[in-house]
């Protein structure tokens, strides 16, 4: 499963570790900071799978793989539900 950012998102960066997202269709705003902001930046570089995101987070933050995977799966679910990212097979 690959995650990619949808085209309906407008991004603003108050600082290196915070992103503000506007979903253009719904007009809803979202804020990500810390790990969430890092994950978003990684997705901006290109579509990523869950394991790639876990590795990317572990390179920056000191976190065990297993809880990190669970947390990222939750985050990806939330971002998908808000139509900020979409999941594709490849």
């Amino acid at each position: 499963m690959i995650f990619r950012i949808t085209e309906d998102v407008f991004v603003s960066r108050p600082s290196a570790d915070e992103v503000v997202l506007l979903h253009i269709g719904s007009g809803e705003y979202f804020t990500l900071d810390g790990v969430g902001a890092h994950v978003w930046s990684t997705l901006e570089e290109g579509p990523r799978g869950l394991e790639e995101l876990v590795r990317s987070v572990q390179e920056v933050f000191e976190v065990e793989a297993s809880p990190c995977r669970l947390d990222l799966a939750t985050l990806m679910g939330q971002l998908s539900a808000a139509s900020l990212i979409k999941q594709t097979e490849e």
């Binding site: 407008f10 603003s12 960066r13 108050p14 600082s15 503000v20 506007l22 253009i24 007009g27 705003y29």
Partner: protein
Amino acid sequence: MMSVHPLETAEGALLMECLKPPARQDPARLSSLADAPGLRPELALQRAAEHGAAGFMQRALRQVPGAGPVSLREGIDAMATLVRMRNMKLATDLGEVMGALQGAGVRALTFKGPTTSLQLHGDVGIRPSNDLDVLVPPDALNEAMRLVTGLGFRRDPKFDLRDMEPNLAHHIAYLRGGTTLEVHVRLFSNAGFANESFDVLWPGRRPCTIPGGPVATLDVGRQALHLALHGSWHGFGCLKWLADIGALLNDSAEISWTDLLEDAEHSEWRRPLLLALHLASEALELPLSPAVEERVTADKRFLDRKASTCVRRWFPEEAPVDRRTLEGVFFRLGLLESANVLRELKRLLFRPNSADWNMLPFLSPRTPVVFSIIRPLRIVFRYTGAAAQLAWRRLFPKSTPS
């Protein structure tokens, strides 16, 4: 060296440091200013709001975590969040408008607004925008009006189409929800620079990506000229305009200052341009190119005097330079070359508008008597009170807060 730094107050000094381009900010100095003993957080927040500086202050203060009073940091964060959300919404609306225009084959350039924050300050949320500005060729105005109306924009009820007489008003204002859209057929209301053809501006356009895709904006030289003229025209009463000039000065690799100065000279806008550059250079401690420095030095006495007028009003008890006050009128006239003074006086005194016609409904909008009598009378009535107020302030000045 002219002293244009409003360093008498801790709030002013902090604000000015925050308005510098990030590469020019000194974290140690920022930290020291944010923790200055005399800093009044509530006044710093007020100044940030007045000058559209919350986004700039947030960006700067995040470089120095923990510095400054908590109430100041929280207040700035709250204000900056509102600025960011508003700008993102404006950018979305702009994308919709530009998409409709481009889709219909209407050439359109956007300027000021959220694209300025993106292009000059690196993020849409830094510099607040009040409205959207789109420039279209005069012969495409009707089509543009039809398209924006189709998007749900309605003409501002205060706007009268008769203001669109040649060389008078330069835009039509539309409203939709909380968004104001100005559709321009010229960049500036006055002559000279204002008369520059859309066809001259179009080839130098540069892209800016906003929601909906890339849109065309002014080339960086024209953008600099327009921002300088706009800011000078309003006496730099709002410091976000000065931060724009500072960003251009700091990253001006694309700007040919010699060409820009020649253009300004040719269109008789030399002094407003030099005032903007001089003021930004002094206040934000930014170097000028040798070509600009030379022109500034040649006209330093005049520029210092005008700059002092601007600075006096940055952190004042009195109101900023306002075009509706007598002092504001003289400030603006003083920036103009002789030929433009006459044009501006003509524009100021002999401009017809709906209020004039409403007063004398039996006259045709083109009746010369209205141009020659009604407008000057209204101006006299309006400025008599302003002149008395100004004289009173001069005679009995308020003491400067410590």
